[in-house]
Subunit: 895 residues, 2 copies
């Protein structure tokens, strides 16, 4: 069978399903031709020929050249033109690569092929625009020399610059016709010297050279790297699309433009685009002339007003394309002498807002069903709908004024503006004065929680996407920029240094947690309109709230992995439930320990010299914990609430600054040196691998017993009030079955005595636990994968310290993505899979969930779905994203 | 088949192989009877009956009672005695437990069963010693009440004390005959009140009660816990041994004693033991009379002199036993009226020195072959032969004077005495003054290496068996005590506090790295005589050196896992080779960075502002590294030398104390604050999981390139001198194949250009590397498992911080052993196994080794042998231990 596929209005060999053979572009062109959409005709040389070319010592395989010649003849007849011109009009071609999946900018393209000293004159005459013809010729020579002859682009740019200087002009388009002719002569001379051969005048030679070059480009360095990073097989190959050129600059009845089938910014239906008459695509890009709108009732120069017939033809085409591709289309078109040609159509990129609206509208219009609507939306885009936003004009002004200080990692989406506070205490006090505050720290620790609460945004010098600051800020839904390494925090002088400037505590900065930008000065912000609407519980018809609610209800109708939330406070729980959470998958009890009314007793408990005073301090804490749990149960009425017993090392609860140690000592009736000694005793070289989690529960059994008693008390209180409390107790940092059994022996009697039935499960966050999950499953009623710690231990990678080399690793392609953002499926994912299988083998109905940060990452969610987990749990603001991703994973699997 | 097994000189049903059925003691008694060794006859009720008893609601199974009665009648006939006496002499019995494996002290024993108000009189008459008879009766009642009737031991002790007071005597044996009779009456009254039943007078009732009690004792709490900890199956059960009593206190022709068949302290051939005439075993224990030697030509009271016939009989028996059991025996015997009875024989415990000598002697005597000789020696015992020793008298004197300050972990065997130095600098300067020094630190870090070298011993407050101090000290063969938490180091006042005392820097202390003891004051020490002999290379016939060399040569004849050493210096390498190392499995290049002549350039390299000055500093380092490697190659001529590229985080090379930072700044021409900032930048929250290993090699490629260039240079220099250098380059902390490939791309060209062939392999120390070992094997020529880090990451357990809960975990049976000492086979071992299999699948001849601390642990070595690794690598002084353990594992497998 031939590997050359024609496409034209009369004959089309391929179709849109044949991406593997034709590449994406070739399949798209074929499909448009089949639909009757006007497309400049041409043919596609299939991907198979590329691989055969490479394996055949860079020679076209036998018969392919004849095949191409045959199709070229067909194309010439189709158009009544001839490659090389002569007695007929000259046929000009574009030669483009096109792989199975898009590899933007990786491979090569050649335009205007077929020009030579004869055809350029023919073109000049036909267009009546010799300057255009010669400029096209100049560009062709330059492009061809670079791509096919492998000559340096910069040499040609230098010759071009010389020519500009010689004529005393600044831009290329001001070079005279004679200048262009002179330049072309210079080019050709240079080529002959450098390449040893004259520039090919024969268009057929040009064509063979171009085809070989496109095939060769499959194996250029950047394409190989790109494939490696994106997991694209080396043996897929690229197709070559040989297509007739059309020109939008043949006069006033010609033109070129781009047009979306709907507004990509708002999602509003109707065409949205621009065009330029008597122009080519590159003129639009160059920005020398201002294009006109396609459709603007007030503008007589709009396409609708000026070319009503072509306009109508475009509209009809867009409708056909949308119906066919079932999505908003982004098209490029050219009008040659009153005739419309589509050069490209693809699903259009759009804002989050537009994405939601378009999906719902397409459903309402009957173009797609619910399943398709769910698939249309990129899960991560929903986070933007929930984020606060900068006033864009004010932000642009600051950027123009050079007030961008630097960039960090975009750890918590949204915009925040406020005065710099360099300590949690300062953040609280400034906030009490009514100021909006940005908490700026080298890095945050649990001591800073109150300060983070009091702030509108958080900025740190160190830390990655799952550092303490990032995790907590996302949980609170606060804008956050972390790992801003260009910033230095000087606590002594209460200043920060960044972007060559020094700012004092109390001065205004603005952070964009969606982009990672940090700016000097104040920018007005608005909170997410969607969130405000959801909070009212009332949606106007057609509002974003209604669209969102509709989407969520569709998702709920699909039986897929459930989504819970990580929430420690009633406020978090409420937001999460509003956003569709099906329960709490992780309540970190330690966050409750930092409240003003608790921390003193927590510290007493830690500093206690004997069991008695330790128990006394714990008794004082118990009512607070009980109240916390009770409130969570109330918010989550009827839904499961997984409570993790105390996890962090005790030293996190003790102060480290001298003044705080002294005041603590005074409070406790101890000497500062005694407190200091205890703080020091508790310090660890590697706290992440230290005395925490169940190790703490085993060495201090009274802590876990107090917590379980508080849970029991809260359940009883809630149920007495008719609240359906559904607690689950989760033991952290289990590495062996023996640990879990030990903890259970200590806490189970409390539950048994209460007469309640509360399941006890465990985190699987230590590699050893995953490796011995069969044993552990005997003692656990559920597993919750703590994939943050599992990643840290499994990859030997501290999330707080990895900032110093992670970016380098990702640049070098060693890691494809930050493994704390998206789970490393091959390594850490294998542990999750092994443990799930082993757990289910022992206990087929064991409940399996994830409560690491990966629970909010769509790629990771797809993986967890494939492994067969029951639920993921994520920050409240990630809940809709996770639900959408889970639904898509479910749909994908069914297909 | 009957579950009751007789043993006597005439009829013996069981034998020594039937441990599972008869328990260890029962099988041993049966075997001795079969050999014709005189043993008091009896019978064993098998372990099966125990399990049936437990499952049968604590009832003896049908027919068992009749079976026991039948055997009891046989026993009565055998001895011409009767249980309950009457017309015949009374038969007295011991009833003892005996499980398949020894569970010392876990289960119960009853002696003198059969005594009642009648038989005690018969016994009194027969022995002519009524006091002895009544005291036996008293003891029997007390023991039986406690074990069978479950009455409190202390109540009886109180009554006994009352009786002593009433008579005004201090020790039990001074209580009068009447007093004993009175006490027995008091006991019986008490028993009736407390137990509700009178003390059983019928010896048959006594017997049934005792048998049930022994069976029940299988399930007492301490036995259950012991089984759990020691992996003994619950369904093995215990046997019951019912044996006739013999008495060594029937007059001057009776006696009792213990005797080893060879000297357990030196290994010298010939009987070694003590006996007492007219006495029972407990009299020997009570220490009221001084026993006489068995064999002492100068002592007319020695057994040889006094009872030449019985002595000769004992000697003959010992020879028979040794021949039979092929090992030195530890026996208990009783002589009743001139007649010798063996009550027990077992392989005798012995010192390390004796262990080696006995194994060699038994071989020389033709009792065992080489394989058996190798199996006789406990590998760990060899470490004592290589350790320095305290003068025992001087040490005992200090202990008596109350100069023991406390105990820590025995991290490096041997004895050291010296003046306290609280910093590495001080250690160096004091040592230069000619003083022996003990370096005392909270914990050590690589900065302390020079100080450790200058010291004779190391003592730290914190850290576990694989902390920095422990690992380095063992590598240097220095005595070391770590984790001495009872000690506080006060750097400010240059003192330490411990055991209620405060010692100043410069005062003498002594540490015993074999026991963990720390003493105040000076104790003379001697270095290991074996090591001194090995260093001469000349062995006298029969010397320990000759014995050692013989053992090692036998081991080398067995083809098993090879043993390499972890060595960073020529001195380490020399010792290791002397002790039998087959190469270097781990050379930590960073240890070379701390030398006086290097550290300045290392710091320059770290503080460099640009690539140029970094390269300059590295150039200055290169000759030193080259010299280091060259010297190692020379020591290891012909053997492989695995060089690990730089591993630790850079901040380990920078000073942290203010004064040192200042002097560094001056040296570098920088401001102290600039140096401080860099130190701070490099600090990490969890350095173990931070920017180190290959991550460093990737972010600072010039470091690895310098190291590889130095290796190439050293190889060339060595080979030019005829030295057969066999380098292997090892890349640390690999987690993904991509990392290894990245490093290889950087260093391979250097090797290629040199024309040398140097294999490049990787550490497998990150769980992810183990999980994806198939991929990594494609790029690695060998794997070396870094089981320290693999344990840390895989168990989420920092070895430096685990000291705060590890002891608790081991006490509670959660961990069976410190996982840093002996590999966790189920979890971490599984990773090693998975990775080995995956690696071999891809590359069948890939070389697999271990270079963690586990490489020197016999249990771990057995495991590594089972996994099929090619070699282990350990500290120089562990090499013989590892070789012996590897040989034993190999022998075990063949069997």
């Amino acid at each position: 069978m031939s590997d050359v596929f024609r496409f034209s209005k009369t004959v089309t060999d391929g179709d849109g399903t044949m991406r593997d053979l034709l590449g994406g572009k070739g399949a798209g062109l074929a499909e448009m031709c089949r639909m009757g959409v006007p497309v400049p005709p041409g043919f596609t040389i299939g991907t198979r020929s590329c691989i055969s070319y490479i394996n055949n010592n860079h020679q076209l395989e036998d018969g392919l050249r004849a095949e191409i010649e045959k199709n070229l003849t067909w194309l010439e007849q189709e158009l009544g033109k001839k490659l090389g011109g002569g007695d007929a009009a000259p046929l000009l071609l574009s030669v483009r690569s096109g792989a199975r999946v898009s590899m933007p900018g990786m491979m090569d393209t050649i335009l205007n092929l077929g020009l030579n000293r004869d055809t350029v004159e023919q073109l000049a005459n036909a267009t009546g625009n010799p300057r255009f013809a010669y400029d096209s010729y100049r560009r062709f020579i330059q492009m061809y020399s670079n791509v096919v002859l492998d000559l340096s682009h910069s040499d040609f740019e230098n010759m071009l610059e010389d020519q500009r200087e010689a004529e005393g002009v600044k831009i290329d388009s001001d070079i005279s016709l004679d200048g262009l002719k002179q330049l072309i002569a210079t080019y050709k001379k240079f080529i002959k010297e450098e390449h040893g051969q004259p520039f090919p005048e024969d268009p057929r030679d040009q064509l063979w050279g171009a085809i070989n070059a496109v095939f060769d480009s499959w194996n250029n360095d950047r394409a190989i790297l790109y494939r490696k990073i994106n997991n694209i097989a080396d043996n897929w190959g690229t197709a070559v699309n040989v297509q007739s050129m059309v020109f939008g600059n043949m006069g006033e009845s010609s033109g070129t433009g781009v047009c979306f089938s709907r507004n990509p910014s708002t999602g509003e239906p109707g065409p949205y685009g621009e065009y330029l008459r008597n122009a080519q695509g590159e003129d639009v890009v160059a920005g020398i002339r201002t294009p006109n709108k396609i459709d603007n009732p007030d503008d007589p120069e709009s396409m609708a007003a000026h070319w009503p017939e072509v306009y109508q033809q475009l509209l009809d085409t867009l409708v056909v394309l949308e119906k066919h591709f079932k999505d908003m289309q982004d098209t490029e078109f050219t009008v040659e002498d009153g005739k419309l040609f589509l050069l490209q159509t693809r699903n259009g990129k759009r804002t989050s807002k537009a994405s939601l609206r378009i999906a719902i509208d397409l459903y309402n219009e009957g173009l797609i069903d619910r399943i398709e609507a769910i698939q249309k939306i990129v899960p991560d885009s929903l986070s933007q709908l929930l984020a606060s936003e900068f006033d864009q004009e004010a932000k642009q002004q600051l950027l123009k004024d050079g007030r961008l200080l630097g960039r960090g990692l975009n750890a918590g989406p949204g915009a925040a503006t406020g005065v710099i506070a360099l300590s949690a205490e300062k953040a609280v006090s400034m906030s009490e004065e009514g100021l909006p505050v940005i908490l700026v720290r080298e890095e945050t620790s649990p001591e800073d929680i109150a300060g983070m609460h009091a702030s509108t945004g958080i900025l740190t010098q160190r830390g990655g996407m799952t550092s303490h600051a990032a995790v907590v800020a996302r949980g609170m839904g606060k804008p956050c920029v972390v790992g801003c390494t260009v910033m230095t925090v000087h606590y002594e002088s209460s200043t920060i240094q960044m972007g060559g400037r020094r700012l004092k505590e109390g001065e205004f900065i603005s952070i964009d947690g969606t982009t990672g930008e940090v700016l000097e000065g104040k920018i007005p912000t608005t909170s997410s309109p969607l969130l405000r609407e959801l909070e009212t519980g009332q949606f106007e018809a057609g509002s974003q709230g209604e669209q969102f609610a509709k989407l969520m209800s569709w998702i709920d109708d699909i039986a897929v992995m459930k989504v819970r939330t990580n929430a420690d406070t009633p406020a978090d729980a409420r937001v999460a439930r509003l956003l569709g959470a099906g329960g709490i998958g992780l309540c970190r009890t330690e966050h409750m320990f930092f409240g003003e009314d608790r921390i003193q007793n927590v510290r007493k408990m830690i500093l206690a010299h004997d069991e008695e005073s330790r128990i006394e301090a714990l008794h004082a804490l118990q009512p607070h914990q009980e109240q916390d749990f009770y409130e969570l149960f109330r918010e989550m009425d009827g839904l499961p609430v997984t409570i993790r017993l105390l996890d962090p090392p005790l030293h996190e609860f003790l102060p480290h600054e001298a003044s705080l140690i002294e005041s603590l000592a005074t409070n406790m009736g101890l000497t500062p040196s005694a407190v200091r000694a205890r703080v020091r005793d508790l310090e660890e070289s590697n706290p992440m691998l230290g005395h925490r989690g169940c190790r703490l529960g085993i060495s201090h059994p009274t802590i876990y017993r107090m917590q379980v008693s508080a849970i029991v008390g809260a359940v009883n209180r809630a149920r007495a009030e008719g609240v359906d409390a559904q607690p689950e107790v989760m033991v952290p940092l289990i590495g062996t079955k023996g640990e879990l059994d030990h903890v259970k022996r200590s806490i189970e009697p409390i539950i048994r005595e209460s007469g309640l039935e509360i399941p006890i499960g465990t985190m699987i966050e230590i590699p050893r636990a995953a490796l011995t999950a069969d044993e552990i499953a005997e003692s656990a009623e559920f597993f919750s994968f703590g994939t943050n710690d599992l990643t840290q231990c499994g990859m030997g990678l501290s999330r707080d310290d990895s900032g110093s080399f992670l970016p380098l690793y990702i640049d070098a392609g060693i890691y494809k993505r930050d493994p704390f953002k998206s789970i490393d499926q091959k390594g850490i994912g294998r542990l999750v899979k092994m443990a799930s299988e082993a757990g289910r083998e022992i206990k087929p109905d064991i409940k399996l969930g994830v409560c690491g940060e990966h629970g909010g990452d769509p790629d990771s969610i797809r993986f967890f779905h494939q492994v067969g987990l029951d639920y993921v749990s994520c920050s409240p603001y990630r809940v809709p994203i996770a639900k959408l991703a889970a639904a898509q994973a479910g749909i994908e699997e069914r297909a």
